[in-house]
């Protein structure tokens, strides 16, 4: 994992919340909690809508200061299109240390697919691709 810039956890949390607002949807809830342990969490939901489809992105992030730099220690993103859960991206090094970063394709046979680390921006792009392709 490449080191991110040195900055405060509070600044990083504010930056993550602002990224949620930049996905092109309506943030219907985004709540960050800071703890005195170098940890913070973000729970959020973004509604996205095209001419014919409705999408929703739910977000959970566990941010942690590691070696003086705040990082996404865990994340769980879920993409919903027209009420159906389609895809999920997780980073979960404690639940699945053998495959921390993985993808879920709901309805597929394989429960977890090895996947690279994803950014919130990439996940946002994917949900817009889903929405544009649904008619």
């Amino acid at each position: 994992m490449p080191p991110g810039p040195r900055r405060s956890l509070r600044d990083y949390v504010a930056d993550r919340l602002s990224q949620l607002s930049d996905l092109g949807g309506i943030v219907t809830g985004a709540h960050a909690i800071e703890f005195g342990t170098g940890d913070a969490t973000i729970t959020g939901r973004v509604m996205l809508e095209s001419e014919s489809s409705r999408g929703m992105l739910t977000v959970f992030e566990h941010l942690r200061v590691i070696d003086g730099r705040p990082r996404r220690w865990k994340y769980g993103y879920r993409l919903w299109v027209n009420g159906e859960q389609r895809v999920g991206y997780d980073r979960d090094p404690t639940g699945h240390p053998e495959m921390p970063e993985h993808k879920h394709v709901f309805g597929a046979e394989r429960e977890r697919i090895p996947w690279q680390r994803v950014t919130l921006h990439e996940v946002g792009e994917e949900i817009w691709t889903f929405l544009r392709s649904e008619h």
């Binding site: 949620l20 309506i26 960050a32 909690i33």
Partner: protein
């Protein structure tokens, strides 16, 4: 202003150890309601570590439990170790 005319309903707040303990209880209650089985957070965490439970709900519950344990470790150090170091 992507959300005009609405303001983003975002919030940032701090949470202490007692509030976190209450939040863990809420996860335990939600699990009981959904699964019909009562699990304490430590019991849940042991099961979660086996990879048996795989959901964002579980990931979040586990995260809050890990943070709680971190609080506890710091609290123990402050109460049991630091005074001896100072002495």
């Amino acid at each position: 202003m992507p959300n005009f005319p609405f303001r983003d309903p975002t919030s940032i707040r701090s949470m202490d150890r007692a509030e976190l303990e209450e939040l863990l209880r809420q996860f335990e209650d939600a699990w009981t309601e959904q699964e019909g089985e009562r699990l304490t957070s430590p019991q849940f965490y042991d099961r979660y570590r086996t990879g048996e439970i795989d959901s964002v709900f579980a990931m979040a519950w586990a995260s809050y439990y890990e943070i709680y344990r971190s609080f506890t470790t710091r609290h123990d150090r402050a109460a049991l170790v630091d005074p001896l170091v100072a002495a």
